[in-house]
Structures are given as C-alpha cells and as structure tokens.
Symmetry: C2
Subunit: 192 residues, 2 copies
Amino acid sequence: MNKQDTRQAILDITAELIQELGYKGLSYKHISERLGVKNAAIHYYFPAKADLGSAYVEQMIVQFEQYRDHLNSKYGDQPVRLLNGLTAIPRSFISKQGMSCPLGTLDAERNFLPESMLLASRQLSRLLCEWLTEILEKGQKQQLMHFSGVANNKALAILSMLQGASLMASANQAQIYEDVIEQLFLDLAIKS
Amino acid sequence: MNKQDTRQAILDITAELIQELGYKGLSYKHISERLGVKNAAIHYYFPAKADLGSAYVEQMIVQFEQYRDHLNSKYGDQPVRLLNGLTAIPRSFISKQGMSCPLGTLDAERNFLPESMLLASRQLSRLLCEWLTEILEKGQKQQLMHFSGVANNKALAILSMLQGASLMASANQAQIYEDVIEQLFLDLAIKS
DNA sequence: TTGTATACTTACCTACTAGTAAGTATACTC
DNA sequence: GAGTATACTTACTAGTAGGTAAGTATACAA
C-alpha cells in the first residue's frame, strides 16, 4: 500500500477508536488488527503513541477549520444556520452507538495526554469558542439571538453545555443531546 | 487495622485517584502503595475491580443524598442558596489541581465501566437532575429564576453545562468554571 | 543487473494490569 | 492453652501495554 494511504488509514481508525475508547483505551494492537498488519507497522508511521495522538488532534483541527470556513462562506450572515452547524458536530459523533465527541473524552484524560496533545486540544477548544462568539455576536446584532452578558462568556457556557451533553448522551440515552439543544434554542429565544 | 477502617481508607484513596485518573487509570498498585500494603490486601476487601468501582459510586450517591438533604432542610425555601449549593459540588473537585468532578470522567469511560457502575452513575445523574428540577421550579414560582420551557429540560441543560465546565476547567484553567457559573446566574436573571 | 530505499514482519523486551492460591502473624473464643 | 477467624503477605499467573532491533520482500533507479 502507498505510504500516505496507510498513514491516513491508521489515522482514520485512530479517530474511530478514540471516540469509542479514548486515548488511553486506544492501543496499537487494536489499530493493527483492524488494519490487518502487525503492531510494529504502526510504530513505523508513528514511533511513539504521542506522535499518533498529536497527529490525530491536529487532523481534527484541520477538519474543523475546513468545516467552519465552509459554513461561514455559505451562511456567513445567517447566525442561526451557523449555530445549527456547530451543534451538528457533537451530534455526528453521538449518532454512532457508544461513541462521543472526543473533546470531552480528551479533557477527562488530561493527566494521560502528552503535552502536545493537551495543547492542541486546548487550541481546538479556543477555535470553537471564538467561532461561537462570532455567531452569537451576529445573532445579537440581527436580534435573532438574545442573551445577557458578553458573547465570549455565553459562548464558553454553551460549549460547556454541548461538551457535557455529548458525554451524558453517550453514557445515557442519545435523546439527551436533542433535549439540551432544544433548551439551548429556547434560551436564546430562537424561533424555529 | 480495623476492618472497617481499612475498607474506608481504600475507598477514600479510590475516590481521590478516580478524580485524578478515572476508573480505568486507577490501579490496585496505586492504592496499595498509598496505603502501605500489598496489592492482594485490596483484593481481600474488593475481590474484583468492579466491586471497588461499584462501592465507590454507591458511596458517592450516599454522600450526595446527605448533602442534598442537609441543604434542603437548611435552605428548603431559598432556591438561590440551593443552586449555589449544587454548583459548589463540581467546584470542590476542581479546587484540587488536575482533578475533576468524577461524573464526567465516568461518562467518558462508559465503555470500560462494569454494568453496575454504569447503572449507579446514571442513578446519580438522575438524582442530581431531579433535585435541580425542584430547585428551578421553586425559583420560578418565587420569581427568583427565569427560564423558558419546562424545568426538567432546563435542569438537564444546566447539568450538562456543569459537567462540561468541570471538565474544561480541569483541562484548561480552573477559572473557566467560575465564568460559566457567572453566565448561568445571568441567564436565570438572578440578582446577586 | 546491482544497489538502495520503502514498507513492512518477526521476535523480542520491560513494565504493568487484574487476579489467585497458599501461607502466616495476630487476636479473640472456648 | 488450643482452636479459629481475621487481616493480611508472599509468590505467582496470564494477558496487555508501548516500544525496539534486526530481518525481508518489493519496487524502483542507475
């Protein structure tokens, strides 16, 4: 197989497994068995587990930025659509049984993450928060969203809610996430 | 040492370690070294790790119920005080460096928890949600708290927020939790 | 045709995991 | 004082973890 193909296949399997098992629960054995190779083959591409973990988070950042830019250019002046797009991210993970949005999982594993992974996951949180702040400011300006306090703090509170709801949904029932999203839109007084 | 003393000491160390490392990250070796005994001594009290985990969650439930009943009898008609009491629970965990409220951690480890632990942690979530629902209903009736929709759904959204904020705070900066709580009180239009 | 880089496999290592069976010192009971 | 239950320790097992050194089949280049 082509080098880039194998490397990407490893990252794809890693992404799936981290959503299910977390970083600590993920093992080279899991990956190599799914890929049909030996564990040393994974070490060939990612010498240490920290290399694999960092590459995974950095890929998540790239994917998020593409998604955000895509939605921004498509619905840049429609904050409600953008908020819908943002809340669709955790949903896409929950939709698969037993899986969860990885940001919460990584936070829960903070004491086991290599420094580079921890820093990258913080960066992703920051990017999400900045995007949501922009969305909220647009919504407030257009009088489509209503909230007290500054947009930045409201964004942080909403992100916490999404992260918590994603975890609760995956450990209890998936419906919880939808209930929380409904409440979120009610709180912002969004007519749908 | 007395049997009950040792058993309780094991549970206390377990509680600390789970806040830091989660259930999966916790090992009999960690516990036995802290306690100054051999790992087989832990197995004497808790034959399987599932026994230890279940005992831990059940202890959490008892402690929560005592705390809730204490606050209810002290501030039963003061919903804002009760809400302050509820938000103080995650804070008490975050205050120790690198630690977090264990409910989020356990949800993140859902695929590694023995069935009994998963069920018990769901029960604790349910108890928290029911208490918060009561608090919100009292607050609404006394016109001290304002929100749209039904109290039960609002409680679920707030619990998600607290759980997410607790994880974000422990993986980023502790201040995040305080920022989110400030926003929560703003959203409910509570004058403080 | 030979040489070389690539993409692995084979075989191994050390450390740690939960868990167990058998032995032992102490304390209490009859 | 003898017997017994308690609260452990000693010594071990099988399985898994991440990681490594050395070997090999294939493809491509000179």
